[in-house]
């Protein structure tokens, strides 16, 4: 069982074998530790990504971005590192901010909603790999699980929008529901391409296939189209520009988050950036070779283009590095979208999904089957 929970359990059992601890307690510990680690990853990701977002946007807008808040007396000057403490300060501010619940809001649902969204993002990580073997549980329906869990959040969004008792929130929630549910379909359809080719839903199997053959994005033209459909739909599913109509700050003020403040709003924020990371990691794992180094982009047994010595660059730790590099690049692309594109209108968004992406994804599915039969 090549998963973190399994190996952690074994490790704990071997460590505490001389002390007579209950086995079920050790297993619980083996589950809780990764949970804490995931939470840390989510937090660190949000802090880093927010900082990156600010600096990327500042760079694109001829600004400097945050400059004043340093960390441990380190301010960084007018460079990329200037204001490095800003997001930490913001996080602290959000945590200590007053949590306002409007009088007419549905208290219970309003409190519940952020946690549902958060849990949706949180549990998705169980199936998200970070490197070879570095996955909490590498079960055989990995992709299916990730798709299923990443859409749990939409329940929270609808609850948040409804319970706020605010028309803007309601509009945001309705838009979000329509958007996220619609874009699940092209995402699912483009991931099926991989499943058809690889013959497995397991993350490690998918990467193994790519290591043996080539990165899936260059498997065929259809796979490449599938990648673009997947990635753009992923942007839509994470509600980012140009598909940020549920938040649409110039139309709906803040959409379904309008009435939220303080910690609950921070949870939304955390989940948003976590979803970004998940989409980018899944895109990297499924289409861009996961933890494989760029030198393994193509593996032709009869032509030896890349010397074998380069394959030292693969491995557990470097795999983590490569995967994160790919994911961060995709996150950068998402930010690039955000700061250069206007926003689509809700009907145009639906048009794009139902009349462009889904037909193309379905066509892709047919053609990749033919391709597999031919080659």
């Amino acid at each position: 069982m090549s998963s973190v929970v399994g190996s952690l359990n074994e490790l704990l059992v071997s460590l505490f074998s001389d002390i007579s601890l209950d086995v079920s307690f050790l297993f619980l510990l083996a589950v809780i530790i990764p949970g804490v680690v995931i939470f840390l990853i989510m937090t660190v990701n949000a802090i880093v990504a927010v900082y990156m977002e600010r600096k990327v946007s500042a760079f694109m807008q001829d600004r400097l971005g945050p400059m004043e808040v340093g960390i441990f007396g380190f301010k960084g000057g007018k460079k990329f590192w200037g204001g490095i403490g800003q997001t930490i300060a913001d996080a602290i501010k959000l945590l200590v901010k007053e949590d306002i619940i409007p009088n007419d809001a549905d208290r219970f649902l309003m409190i519940l909603a952020p946690f549902i969204i958060f849990i949706g993002a949180f549990v998705t990580f169980i199936g998200v790999p970070f490197s070879e073997g570095l996955i909490i549980s590498d079960f055989n329906i990995g992709i299916l699980y990730v798709i299923a869990m990443s859409s749990v959040g939409v329940i929270g969004i609808i609850l948040a929008g409804w319970s706020s008792n605010n028309k803007w929130s309601l509009y945001g929630a309705m838009r979000a529901a329509a958007q996220i549910i619609s874009y699940e379909i092209p995402i699912g359809l483009s991931l099926i391409l991989v499943v058809i080719v690889v013959g497995s839903l397991e993350m490690s199997e998918i990467v193994k296939w790519q290591a043996d053959n080539r990165w899936f994005i260059i498997h065929s033209p259809f796979a490449m189209l599938g990648f673009f459909i997947f990635f753009i739909s992923g942007v839509a599913e994470t509600n980012r520009v140009p598909f940020d109509i549920p938040e649409a700050e110039s139309e709906l003020v803040a959409g379904w988050m309008t009435e939220y403040s303080g910690f609950r709003w921070a949870l939304f924020f955390l989940s948003e950036y976590t979803n970004m990371l998940i989409v980018c990691i899944i895109a990297s794992v499924v289409f861009l070779g996961g933890w494989l180094s760029p030198f393994k982009i193509i593996n032709l047994p009869y032509v030896d283009i890349i010397p074998d010595s380069f394959f030292i660059l693969d491995g557990f730790y470097l795999g983590l590095f490569w995967l994160l590099i790919k994911a961060i690049f995709l996150i950068f692309v998402m930010m690039w979208f955000r700061w250069t594109f206007p926003r689509l209108r809700v009907d145009q968004l639906m048009y794009l999904c139902w009349k462009v992406f889904i037909p193309f994804a379905l066509g892709n599915l047919v053609f990749i089957c033919i391709w597999e039969l031919l080659f």
Binding site: R63, V241, A248, E249, S250, T340, F341, R343, R345
Partner: protein, 380 residues
């Protein structure tokens, strides 16, 4: 505006929702409140409610001498204060019937066209914001800052200038002003193309703005829409050409009108594009004016005290937002009996409910952004 509007729900059908956009809303461009009746995302009726910024400027003017009115006029259209000053001064000069020195006219034209660039930059930037593009706004604002720096060097103020006075201007140009203006124009020429790359040709931008919020030419005229918003509908109505004031006959420039390049004539994209082209024309005018500016005393024609003859005057002026009119009635004293300002944004806004009905909530923001309103002059 008022409280009773909130309770007046008798006309609402069961499936309609009344949405209050504003007075605090990011894309109402100030404290405008739109009572939107919606059927799902579709807008079925819009009732603009304004007056949140009302300060009864016209009543103020009835208690101030003609010179003292100028700073109040500034505050009407705070994004194009120079135009307001200029429009008011033209009206008073028409009432006084005085001739201005050539140099004053040239300075006024240079300033007015620079102000037009600055104002259109804000219009384009906020229009970008309304359709969801944030970056153009920061770019345009930083370029507008350069124009404002020029004005700061000119008269010390950055937003409300009190520079153009009836009978002249408050100071002559500072010696470096011309050089700095040329420098700005050279810079802006290059920057102009970047805006086109970022926004004009962007497919999503075109998708959002083309064919949206079409104002047919006759309806636009009927509603008194003026300025770039009317020219976007293909009407060749620019007071600088049709009824030239100041010395605009001396300069060569085009009046850009909407041609429906991306969709139908009179859509939001056309109005945006007209503003873009107008900046180019303004640059042309400034260059020509700078090349031929004569010397002279800018205070030569300035009256010691303004006491117009008994009578009334209606004077119009092409501001960045459209046709600014001043109707002044004088009774021979140094205080106007009545000063009525025809606000272009006021009339432009009146077409919103006609145009935006049947479109989506997002389009309301787009259309409102393309009309480029300033609440300071709507509410006066």
């Amino acid at each position: 505006m008022g409280i009773d509007n909130l309770q007046d729900n008798s006309s609402i059908k069961a499936d309609e929702m009344v949405l209050n956009m504003g007075p605090q809303h990011p894309s109402t461009h100030g404290v405008l409140r739109l009572k939107i009746h919606t059927d799902g995302e579709i807008v079925s009726k819009i009732d603009p409610i304004m007056g949140y910024l009302h300060r009864c400027f016209e009543k103020h003017c009835e208690n101030l001498s003609y010179e003292q009115v100028v700073p109040f006029v500034d505050r009407c259209d705070y994004l194009a204060s120079m135009h307001m000053d200029h429009a008011y001064s033209l009206a008073v000069e028409k009432l006084l019937d005085i001739e201005l020195p050539e140099r004053v006219e040239y300075i006024r034209v240079i300033i007015a066209e620079l102000q037009r660039i600055a104002s259109h930059l804000v219009a384009i930037g906020t229009f970008g914001l309304d359709v969801g593009a944030i970056t153009p706004f920061t770019w345009t604002i930083s370029d507008r800052e350069r124009v404002i720096d020029l004005f700061e060097a000119l008269c010390g103020a950055r937003l409300l200038y009190n520079y153009i006075w009836p009978g002249g201007v408050s100071h002559d140009l500072s010696p470096k002003f011309i050089d700095r203006t040329i420098e700005f124009l050279d810079y802006f020429d290059k920057k102009y193309d970047e805006y086109n790359e970022l926004l004009t040709g962007n497919p999503i931008f075109i998708e959002r703005t083309a064919d949206v919020g079409i104002i047919p030419a006759d309806v636009g005229v009927d509603y008194g829409v003026t300025g770039p918003s009317l020219r976007g509908s293909g009407v060749d109505y620019d007071l600088r050409k049709t009824d030239p004031y100041s010395i605009y006959e001396k300069f060569e420039f085009e009046v850009p009108v909407g041609k429906g390049e991306m969709g139908t004539v009179g859509d939001c994209w056309d109005r945006y594009w007209v503003r873009m082209l107008e900046m180019k024309e303004s640059m042309k005018i400034v260059r020509q004016a700078i090349a031929s500016i004569p010397d002279g005393d800018v205070h030569a024609a300035m009256p010691k005290r303004i006491r117009p003859k008994k009578g009334s005057v209606y004077s119009r002026y092409e501001s960045a937002r459209g046709d600014v009119g001043f109707y002044i009635i004088s009774n021979g004293k140094n205080v106007p009996v009545r000063l009525k300002m025809r606000s272009p944004a006021f009339c432009n806004l009146s077409i919103l409910s006609e145009v935006a009905e049947g479109w989506m909530i997002s389009d309301v923001c787009t259309i409102l952004g393309s009309l480029d309103i300033v609440l300071g002059e709507i509410d006066r």
